[in-house]
């Protein structure tokens, strides 16, 4: 049987559906010793902001049952250095690139969209709207329909129309399909589901929050059922929208679960920390499983859990 491992996400064809998750693959330079970046469907870059950022103080990390909390604070070089150094390097290695952008204000998102527009070799832009909005007492953009809409609109209005945009949503909302609805109306071509959940660990020796930033984003297998649920709910309400699924995928079976729920591609995050070759393992296992289940292509399996028959 001829098996088709390519996938179409936001109108773009990728050779396979396994991507890295934003902030979980460094600049790509850290992983290339372990496998060629061309073997990934795409590299999703760390979320890049307008200016350089030191990130937060340490401790930035706490391991939790089947997961971890992180509070990095979007450490990064800023968009100028990123476009000058990171993007050309990724292009030179033949990687498909999804650039993740993050802003502190609606104007930041607009400016980032303008700066990205002139750059060749980018497959799509993932818009991280799970960032504190400095204009609204630090409330996270994606947790409020008005600010979520404003951020995605700002990107849509300012970006090269040929560049698809993927809105990355937070699961920390009452109804994720409501936020999905507003960002689709604002022009999102696809959705990345899900970002981390906000959590906290208190150190019972110091009797204070363990992380310097007090709260952190929970990731890893602990959140996978939340991600599968979110993908399923959004796919049920918006069958035509492209979904990039993520949240605690560590093996091919779990990637398959996300595809069945409605994801056209799957980003691997925390699993890279436990195993630099996690993406390659997941990709091989997923392909084997799709074939074993009788699918001729990835596309045929996307959203298959929603079928009414049998």
């Amino acid at each position: 049987m001829n098996f088709d491992f390519t996938t179409t996400l936001v109108g773009t064809i990728f050779p396979n559906p396994i991507f890295t998750a934003s902030g979980c693959a460094g600049s790509g330079k850290e992983l290339i010793q372990f496998f060629p970046l061309t073997d990934l469907g795409a590299v999703v870059t760390k979320s890049i902001m307008l200016k350089p950022r030191s990130g937060r103080a340490t401790p930035r990390m706490a391991e939790t049952p089947s997961g971890m909390l992180n509070s990095i604070g979007l450490q990064g070089p800023g968009i100028a250095a990123f476009l000058q150094d990171d993007i050309p390097w990724l292009k030179s290695k033949g990687a498909r690139i999804v650039v993740s952008i993050a802003g502190e204000s609606v104007a930041d998102y607009a400016e980032l969209a303008r700066l990205i527009s002139g750059v060749s070799g980018i497959s799509a832009v993932e818009v991280n709207i799970s960032c504190p909005n400095v204009e609204s007492r630090g409330q996270v953009f994606s947790c409020n329909p008005v600010t979520a809409h404003a951020a995605i609109s700002a990107v849509k209005k300012n970006i090269d129309p040929s560049l698809p945009i993927i809105a990355k949503l937070s699961p920390d909302v009452t109804d994720i399909t409501e936020i999905a609805d507003v960002v689709i109306n604002a022009g999102a071509d696809g959705l990345a589901l899900i970002n981390t959940l906000l959590g906290m660990v208190i150190d019972t020796n110091s009797m204070k929050p363990k992380l310097a930033g007090k709260t952190g984003g929970l990731s890893g297998p602990a959140i996978r059922p939340v991600a599968v649920r979110a993908i399923y709910q959004v796919k049920a309400r918006f069958p035509q929208i492209s979904i990039l699924g993520m949240g605690g995928v560590t093996n091919g079976r779990e990637a398959f679960e996300m595809i069945l729920a409605g994801a056209s591609a799957v980003s691997v995050g925390t699993a890279n920390f436990g195993n630099p070759l996690a993406t390659m393992k997941i990709k091989a296992e997923l392909q084997e499983l799709l074939i074993e289940r009788g699918f001729a292509s990835v596309a045929a399996a996307v959203g298959y859990a929603h079928r009414e028959e049998d």
């Binding site: 902030g23 979980c24 693959a25 460094g26 330079k29 850290e30 992983l31 010793q33 372990f34 200016k51 350089p52 950022r53 030191s54 990130g55 937060r56 103080a57 340490t58 401790p59 930035r60 990390m61 391991e63 049952p65 089947s66 997961g67 971890m68 992180n70 990095i72 450490q75 990064g76 070089p77 800023g78 310097a212 890893g220 297998p221 560590t250 925390t270 699993a271 890279n272 920390f273 436990g274 195993n275 630099p276 070759l277």
Partner: protein, 283 residues
């Protein structure tokens, strides 16, 4: 190039012995052993296939032996502190664990013979014995001082003792050697042995105290820092510490990539749970 020599192997445990408060463990890693330099570390996945512990554990390499072909080994000194290290130290010989390495920077070895003082805190002494052997083989004088809270937490194997010109032990509770902290005795030890360079590995507080002394005496101080890591390969950005670069800019740098061995004078030591003022990109 980042992680230039790193690769992953399923390594068989060929020895696991309790030594005081620690376990001395030997892993058959094959060709990886030949790439190890003193100061490098490995990252090991813990808990088995169905483990709820999703992150690797980082361990400084105690010693490595390249026996050509598949026989190479690395030796680690593991303190069974948390769930991951307890699991690892409980494993029987012949079990396999996944090891990624060698990772991180190594101690710089002077081309000319020097008078070196090696300072270890607790199991932080582990990488210093391999370093001592390399320094001795280059004709250097090697004095060593090891400190810990109590006698059982001093790691000083017999063959390691033979590799040094002098060994001083200090304990906080006076149960072995000199009564006090290593830093209390450093100025005298440095004066007595004519130290030209200090190498250290241990808790951050100890490294900070040594850096202060090294700075006052204008001595080179290479230290292996210890920050909590999630990945060990530079992708998670959790193990950062503030380092001053060559033009004076302070940046939050990964201790797994820029370190673990760094020049002590580059580290901004006095900023627990805060970003030092003036750090590049500070908000």
């Amino acid at each position: 190039m980042i992680n230039k020599y790193a690769h992953a192997v399923d390594a068989e445990i060929i020895s696991n012995k309790r030594v005081g408060a620690y376990h001395h463990m030997v892993f058959e890693v094959g060709a990886m052993a030949g790439q190890v330099r003193p100061g490098n570390f490995v990252a090991i996945s813990v808990g088995g296939e169905t483990s709820a512990m999703v992150l690797r554990r980082a361990f400084a390499i105690h010693r490595s032996m390249d026996r050509g072909g598949s026989g190479g080994v690395v030796e680690l000194v593991v303190a069974p502190h948390g769930g991951g290290s307890k699991w690892l130290t409980s494993l029987e010989v012949h079990r396999k664990v996944n090891i990624v390495g060698p990772l991180g920077t190594a101690f710089g070895i002077p081309t000319e013979p020097v008078r070196a003082l090696l300072v270890g805190g607790g199991y932080g002494s582990a990488p210093l014995f391999g370093l001592a052997e390399v320094l001795k083989s280059r004709g250097s004088r090697v004095d060593m001082v090891l400190g810990a809270s109590t006698a059982g937490k001093i790691y000083a194997p017999l063959e390691g003792k033979r590799a040094v010109n002098s060994l001083t032990i200090t304990t906080d509770d006076g149960s072995a050697g000199l009564h006090g902290k290593v830093s209390d005795f450093l100025p005298d030890l440095i004066a007595a042995s004519g130290t030209e360079i200090i190498y250290s590995c241990g808790p951050m507080g100890m490294l900070a105290a040594i850096s202060k002394i090294a700075g006052e005496l204008d001595l080179v101080h290479q230290c292996a820092v210890e920050e909590a890591m999630a990945c060990g390969i530079g992708v998670c950005m959790t193990c950062v510490l503030p380092l001053r670069d060559s033009n004076g800019t302070i940046r939050m740098q990964r201790s797994c990539i820029e370190g673990p061995v760094v020049d002590g004078s580059r580290v901004i030591w006095d900023s627990p749970r805060a970003i030092p003022e003036g750090t590049w990109g500070a908000q």
